[in-house]
Symmetry: C3
Subunit: 235 residues, 3 copies
């Protein structure tokens, strides 16, 4: 194919593993993309950055690098170190860090308090209670889908939320395209500290793509999310 | 039916009476819900709370309690006193009060001024001029529908807008689910004092459901609003 | 026809000339409107106001006067001088000026800096670099459409962006209807200085109509934009 950025590399967020992307993967694959799901080790932020970097090296062409939620910190770290194989960064309601920030620096204090308490009770791993996740993270699904999706989630090593990213360059200055996909009913972050434009504007010049859906659209509406990612990633 | 919250109780806002819900009622009924339209007396806020409370007592199962606009204050008062029959509160671009607040405390000063003037000229009852209502309340309708819907409105006793609600508990602490339906082109309140997130965030953990439409969607698009209410009210 | 405002007059923004409206024109024409595309001289803001004013005088009935972007300043100036032939003003992600303001007063400082530099290098005419225009102005198009649309743009005399409008009346006080069409993925202006509600609220009572799309929807989705303009312009 002549498309210069036909390879899509999908980086998952917290709690969910790479299999969360399965629905999106199938659709992008069918549409002719070379798609890779990265299964990060989640042992530390540095480990995740290194692992994702290797996945890009194996792609067949220049890469559209997609990160969701926590995965936005990972792809930011990768892009800071390796721009020559990356065509465009696509943040899907993902964290966009400044140099020296960790995930906990970008969420409201009550989330940090919740994570601290859960991690203390779970040997340093975090999870979300179903009640919160159902209404604030997958508000667009019915109960059956919410339950089956929740059953796929895992305890996530809390260290990855407190590890700080080192960025040599401001993301806005990196010589790659940047897009932000805003799922409009995503209330995983409160409206007073939203994904967009609070975090998206850190990208400098970026392409905005929006769709209706929650933070977990790869579960609740993978077809619509795949379309949004394609529109965000194209030249 | 096994649905634990199959009863929907619909509480109207100001100016419109219960018949405003007719379109939504028909659709929810067809979809298998046990639906009750409450026709509040509007003689005082306390009377409306008491009347709605009795309607819930008569429902066949646990209740999804839906309030529109002023009706949000009514359902808040009901839920504060009676949580055991309520499964979930659904606010449809509705006021979410703090303890001791009245409707006038949550609208911009120019509305209070307008209401004061209209009430003085109408023996203590308020109404909106058609010109304002057509562009700011039912902006998604054509003129014919706007006129026929406006013809159904009534003078509303102003006392209900100045009566203050007493809440023993913060709404966020009530042991019932909470959802907020945001009709996105609703400019009945100015964008500097919006329905969402200004009022919705008072619910604490809540499920956000959005749809395109004005403040009077039960007139202009009852099918879409009924769908949003169903998504907001489900378990 | 009995429609009292069956004439639509379309006023273009900066960089694009009147032909940008061609797609919208065809659809409104087919829907029975008497449509005029104004091709302003762009020699100065006063010239554009005078030229548009003459176009209105030639319309067959009262006019729905539509302005896009910079064109919002033009239609504001026209309406201030000539309300008897104008039924309603429709701003399509357009500038809504205060008395004495120019376009540069309503955009972020980095745009003014960019315009200054480009004008200095182009004998007083401005243009946008393709890279910025593609991601921030026509983010909803594919690359092919973005390129072909960009090829239709022209250097725009910078003087029109620094000429200040004189308004004898606050726009909110003018005895004509006002509507604002907000294309929701328009990030031509940053979210910290948005089109809506920052500029729309200057209209006082106005009708909000929204649709999904970028700043250049007349290129990327003229059918949807024509529908939005019709809903914004109707009685």
């Amino acid at each position: 194919m002549s498309n210069t950025a036909n390879s899509v590399v999908l980086v998952h967020g917290g709690f969910v593993d790479g299999s969360g992307w399965d629905g999106v993967y199938q659709i992008l694959k069918k549409d002719g993309y070379d798609v890779t799901i990265v299964q990060n080790p989640t042992t530390s932020l540095a480990d995740d950055v290194a692992f994702t970097k290797r996945a890009i090296a194996e792609a067949k062409s220049d890469v559209i690098l997609v990160g969701h939620s926590y995965g936005g910190i990972v792809i930011s770290g990768v892009a800071d170190r390796l721009t020559d194989r990356i065509k465009r960064l696509v943040y899907v309601n993902a964290f966009v860090p400044l140099d020296g920030q960790c995930l906990n620096d970008m969420v409201p204090p009550h989330f940090v308090g919740l994570f601290d308490a859960v991690a203390a009770a779970n040997k340093g791993a975090v999870m979300l209670p179903f009640e919160i996740w159902r209404d604030a993270f997958i508000n667009d699904a019915d109960l059956e889908l919410a339950k089956s999706a929740f059953a796929k989630l895992n305890l996530h090593p809390y260290k990855t939320f407190t590890d700080k990213i080192t960025l040599k360059h401001a993301l806005a200055e990196l010589p790659v395209g940047k897009s932000y996909v805003n799922c409009r009913q995503d209330i995983a972050l409160p409206h007073s500290m939203p994904w967009h434009p609070r975090l998206s504007e850190r990208l400098g010049l970026f392409r905005l793509v929006e769709c209706d859906g929650s933070h977990e659209m790869f579960f609740s509406n993978p077809a619509r999310l795949a379309q949004a990612i394609a529109e965000a990633g194209r030249d």
